[in-house]
Subunit: 350 residues, 2 copies
């Protein structure tokens, strides 16, 4: 509860000097004074008042983390978001920042947070392109966008090579002899990420002359069990799987969806990979605990968080830095959820 003023009085120096000591501007202060002030501050249990500091500096140590969600939605139920936001939080703390977390789609909320708290920077996760004009009108703080595909210059972006991920999945299924494949996304219509994964998937399949038919593109999966969306998906899948002409493999845009699919297939008494193959996307630590050894596209979420925080903090420190774009690579992790149907070449070789 001691204030900077009290420290100054006790140390017989000015507030300016104490401020310099506390903030590490030691070049302005003799080392004896530094020591004396630091000792006193420690003894008196001094903790700087962040509100006062933010007010005086017109900038806080907050970084806004904005993630898409409806009002009242708990997006941390999704393990990808949890892992990613947790990693961001850890990295931010290490750089002396605090995460200001807001799960919303409402631009008014975002605006109020960003301006009200004088945040030092912001991280936008998801497809916020429709708010582009409004985001541009914000006070000019550094922003890093992730999980989105803006088509404008001058923004910082950390992306994942979604096209390549899709392509790897497509090529792999092709190589394993699958010619009738399906695609399953959480929200294909509004997620640019999902769209790119699909495009890459089609490209990968094309190398093996496989087409992805529209009727086997499932656009709206819900990862929670027992919701109406999940039931609707089940019905859709059920009718697709009951015909003789049915897909032999599914590419899902996340592991969470892949596991959901696995469960729904189980309800139809279809086994993975014996009856149907599944390939996922993400390869989160938690997924690996599942009994199903899921073949999936690996992305390094922790590294992504690292890059985001690093990029952002550099742009906060030097506002003249030109905008940057980084893409995190992906790789295929072969486990056991895709069956090898054999092809002419493949079987010949073995």
């Amino acid at each position: 509860m001691a204030t900077l003023k009290e420290i100054a009085q006790a140390a017989h120096v000015s507030m300016a000097t104490v401020s310099n000591v506390i903030n590490g501007n030691h070049h302005k202060v003799s080392s004896e004074t530094v020591e004396r002030v630091e000792k006193l501050a420690r003894e008196m249990g001094y903790v700087p008042n962040q509100a006062a500091r933010s007010l005086a500096q017109r900038e806080s140590r907050f970084i806004a983390i904005i993630s898409q969600a409806g009002k009242g939605d708990n997006i941390l139920t999704n393990p990808y978001n949890a892992q990613y936001i947790g990693a961001l939080t850890v990295d931010l703390h290490e750089k002396g920042y605090y995460p200001l977390i807001r799960f919303t789609n409402d631009f008014k909320d975002i605006d109020t947070d960003l301006r009200g708290w004088n945040v030092a920077g912001a991280i936008f996760n998801g497809s916020y392109s429709r708010y582009l004009k409004q985001i541009r009108s914000l006070p000019s703080i550094p922003i890093v966008f992730t999980d989105c595909y803006f088509r404008v210059p001058g923004i910082n972006h950390v992306g994942v090579d979604d096209d390549m991920g899709g392509q790897l999945a497509g090529e792999y299924l092709g190589k394993m002899g699958h010619r009738k494949v399906a695609f399953l996304a959480a929200d294909l219509d509004s997620s640019e990420v999902d769209q790119h994964r699909r495009a890459g998937f089609e490209a990968g399949l094309k190398e093996y002359d496989v087409e992805l038919p529209d009727r086997w593109t499932f656009r709206h999966a819900d990862i929670r069990p027992g919701t109406e969306y999940t039931e609707a998906l089940y019905q859709e899948l059920y009718s697709a799987m009951q015909t003789e002409d049915r897909p032999t493999a599914f590419f899902c845009t996340s592991d969470a969806i892949a596991l959901q699919l696995h469960r729904l297939m189980g309800r139809m008494s279809l086994r993975v990979p014996e009856d149907v193959s599944i390939i996922g996307f993400d390869d989160l630590p938690f997924t690996q605990q599942y009994s199903l050894p899921l073949t999936t596209i690996h992305q390094d979420v922790d590294q992504k968080a690292h890059l985001v925080v690093d990029m952002l903090s550099r742009h906060i420190q030097d506002k003249t830095l030109p905008s940057e774009r980084t893409v995190v690579g992906v790789s295929l992790v072969e486990r056991g959820s895709v069956r090898n149907l054999g092809t002419k070449e493949e079987t010949a070789r073995e």
Copy 2:
């Protein structure tokens, strides 16, 4: 970027009046003035500066969420924490508060956060009892403790009926004819929650004259795959399961651990529930996606978060309120991971 002062000038009223309008103290202002000021504020895009407000009021709209973790640990990897902290965040936003999230075990960090930001309240998750004296010395803000067992009066606490949960598990295994049972916790030595679940478990077993031997109490499970802790656990489990005299059932203190166990059993080619039965704890939405239909003890995490935020906000509004303790009930959810070994009575009935 407009300030309150500018609104005041534009509306030809004092700053005090604008402040009253913005903060809803309408009883001091005529309704025409209210309308005029609100209109102007909207037009000028006014957003209150939270730092200035916190400074003037000596209290911010932040609620600190303190959760146990080592430095650098991403506790949101654990799905229970993710669900719980996500739910807290949503509930706090609905009441106009902001979560100030800190994952740490270091009291200095906690102290700095709480005092530096002038938080309105705090939520401590985990076994912080060793810091009791220091917590008591904090500026007197309302605090709610969860997932812990303090033995002192005067604190607010929202707990889960861990003893009952353990007991239900014990009784159930007893009823299903299991006489050789094991127990698996994440961190039995330092988690009071785990200790209570174990005590309840023993009590439940005792009703069926079953004992929980010490050699079958596994204290340190790691939910991540492939870590050295996990490998160590595997070795321990392996030697326990290779003898003729081996446990037929396990009670795990969380679903995440139960899934880990399931996986490790799979590595030993032991099937659940055919070769070994497993009962978990938590029943999170995400767990239900797992292919193993896990019998588990259900706790309502969302409701818990609700109770915590409600209790805390009441205590913030009225600091004279006496301390409260609430316990959230649990129930057994029977799925299919426990095998019925049959007992004299049971088999007789069927």
